[in-house]
Symmetry: C2
Subunit: 188 residues, 2 copies
Amino acid sequence: MTDPKRADARRNRDQLLAVARESFAEHGTATSLREVARRAGVGIGTLYRHFPTREALLETLLSDRFDTLRQDAVDLAGEQDQRTALLHWISRVAAGAGTYRGLPESVRTALRDHDSRLHDSCDAMRRAGGDLLRAAQRAGTVRADATIEDLLAAATGIAWASENSADPAALTARLLDYLMHGLAIGDR
Amino acid sequence: MTDPKRADARRNRDQLLAVARESFAEHGTATSLREVARRAGVGIGTLYRHFPTREALLETLLSDRFDTLRQDAVDLAGEQDQRTALLHWISRVAAGAGTYRGLPESVRTALRDHDSRLHDSCDAMRRAGGDLLRAAQRAGTVRADATIEDLLAAATGIAWASENSADPAALTARLLDYLMHGLAIGDR
DNA sequence: ACCTGAACACCGTTCAAGT
DNA sequence: ACCTGAACACCGTTCAAGT
């Protein structure tokens, strides 16, 4: 599925992904798959052959995102101010989840569903984020009772709350600010 | 639309509302309207005659909710501890928005859409909640830069984040706790 | 090895025909 | 004044027939 052998199949797959990316961006994750196939110039059956579910299509488009976020967490672990590092990371998670309309919903599912094909990269990201959180907790600047699961749920919820708002980025920033104040210990 | 004159029409309307309430509770707000009509024992056209859109049906089922929340805010305004009063109120908003799967989405829309038929009761609720917020801000126990719009967005987002989780009420409670810590000034 | 599109089972919504 | 359900235009998904 990941790497078709025939050249025409590879072309179809690439074309489908390109069109899907555009369609998701334009109409959100609920965009018509028939329409995607049409615009990609392939039969609907071809779409289903390459991507058996809508989630599979989305997963392929987003597979590198979780890896990037994991790497971000690792990089940020070197920062002086652990709490700020955590804030930066959570902001990126929220921004990533807000890329497409409907995407927060998919991310919420991926985070919970152990059978998701994204589960591995999702889990790796969660672990790296957890390390970041624990570092800040050890430094005594973030509440000890906070969990990475709660933080990811909050970030996803913030991305969702900002969907379709007048100024999504601004609303996300304000809600993240509340969240981080809520997590903070000490100077504020 | 609100009060049909013929007895059979009133019966149909009541029956549709009863079935819709069940269906929304069981399958979420995206439940099949055809199925609702079928289970109510009426033609699909009858459903559309009484409720021209899915939102109209939902609005009728929820119209008293916003009024109740408004009244809650008025009642809570008498409390000693203004911050706790605000917390209680926001908790009720979140709980209300989490009643059905998909409801947070409708509430998000209603809060933003000035053309919604719920807009008036929605606005009344917002104003009452705003009074509660400002009282706490005047008391100096809640951040002065917080807005009622942000709080409602946060509460709706928390309800959404808790949908389908293992223990929705517990997750909602934890996220509300972060939010309220984030809003708090002074002792924590 | 892969593509195609008809076929099936569903939708939401409208509207002419009824009572 | 209200009800009905066929009709229309869409879906997602599967699968037999092709190349």
